[in-house]
């Protein structure tokens, strides 16, 4: 019931955003984000016809960066383990 997916804003008309999710287009009311600065190109979460939150690109990038570092650190260790034929952790 609380499902919501990230949608990209393509156009804003008054308090309605025309958004794309994958290849589908949806209208979302921006009334619940009246306090936020929302513009074309932003991603929002849509729920029951309303945009309920603007997705924070910086926060998303920061967390993804951590995951990627984690992944590459692990890949480096895999190589090292292979070379030394021992398990590091």
């Amino acid at each position: 019931m609380c499902l919501s997916i990230p949608a990209r804003i393509d156009k804003i008309e008054n308090d309605t955003a025309v958004c794309t999710v994958g290849t589908s287009s949806y209208n979302a009311s921006l009334e619940l984000l009246a306090h936020e600065d929302v513009s074309v190109g932003d991603y929002v979460l849509i729920h029951t016809g309303f945009a309920i939150q603007k997705l924070d690109a910086e926060e998303a990038e920061a967390s993804l960066k951590t995951f990627k570092e984690f992944k590459s650190l692990n890949e480096d260790m895999d190589i090292e383990e292979k070379e030394q034929s021992t398990r590091l952790i």
Partner: protein, 359 residues
Amino acid sequence: MKYIDEYRDKKIVLLLAEEIKKTITKPIRLMEVCGGHTMSIQKYGIPYLLPEELELISGPGCPVCVTSRSYVDRAVAYSRLDDVIITTYGDLIRVPGSSSSLDKEKAKGADIRIVYSILDALTIAKENPKKKIVFLGIGFETTAPSSAAGIIKAQMAALSNFYLYSAHKVMPPAMETLIDEGVLIDGYIGPGHVSTITGSGIYQNIPKKFGLGVVISGFEPIDLLQSILMLVNQIENNDQKVEIEYTRAVKPEGNIKAQEMLDEVFEYGDDWWRGFGILKNSGLKIREKYAMHDAEKQIIVDVEPLKEPKGCICGEILRGVNKPKDCKLFGTVCTPSNPVGSCMVSSEGSCAAYYLYNR
């Protein structure tokens, strides 16, 4: 799709699972209280990635599941009135009441329309001035602000034929009651989109009063495993607190505008939850100021006496005391095409999720 695909990277998923295995030293039980999490956890097979010591259990996260049959009975009674059009989210249409359901009434000719948003229901109200439009407002803090916005719009547009029948509920009372009643859990995977609206402050009592951690999680496999890892770390270090994993969508203060709208239209009242009974201040009731749009106050109907199905243990499942496979009806008498209880009928109910992904 952006903000989705990145959180499904298989390699990172496996690394996080490995990290959880390395960190955990004792049995830990975590509960999720969001139907969306229930579905994701089963869909991505998360339990199979976790060490034996870690058990995931589902709580009361599905609004349709915790709602009383008498709510459906009253909606059915409304639908039988000639001058009423019922507007509802699809989730409710097949939920059994005591002797009927909305889809059965629709088959018999009742005017019941599935809408995607309360805004569509307002349009129906404008187009049908001689009819009473009843919108079935169900859902937690995520969904309730849209109902509030709808009521404010109806008031502003003087749509006197528009009514909300509210079963909206708030999460914290149920989360606290579960621990208080002694259901054995070690932490909560906090609901992501509820928290988008409320922020993280509503859970502060849980570490403070009960010493349990809450990590607010997103819905992709990386989100869920990262949240589980954060909870395991909290427990292993004895540092239980409220944390946000889903930082791209949840701010500590939540959505202030949505909170203002909720407060404008609703006030807290006691409400009945399946598996729990009456929980104090767990329901959102329409304020007196908007009483002209309150279906319960404005449309009087006779409602049939409540009858619960025999053998269904949906209540125990919602409290995390039993799992779907513990129910004798599961997968035999009770299936998604012939559901006995609401946990099977709702697509995000625990029984439906287990039936679909983990039989």
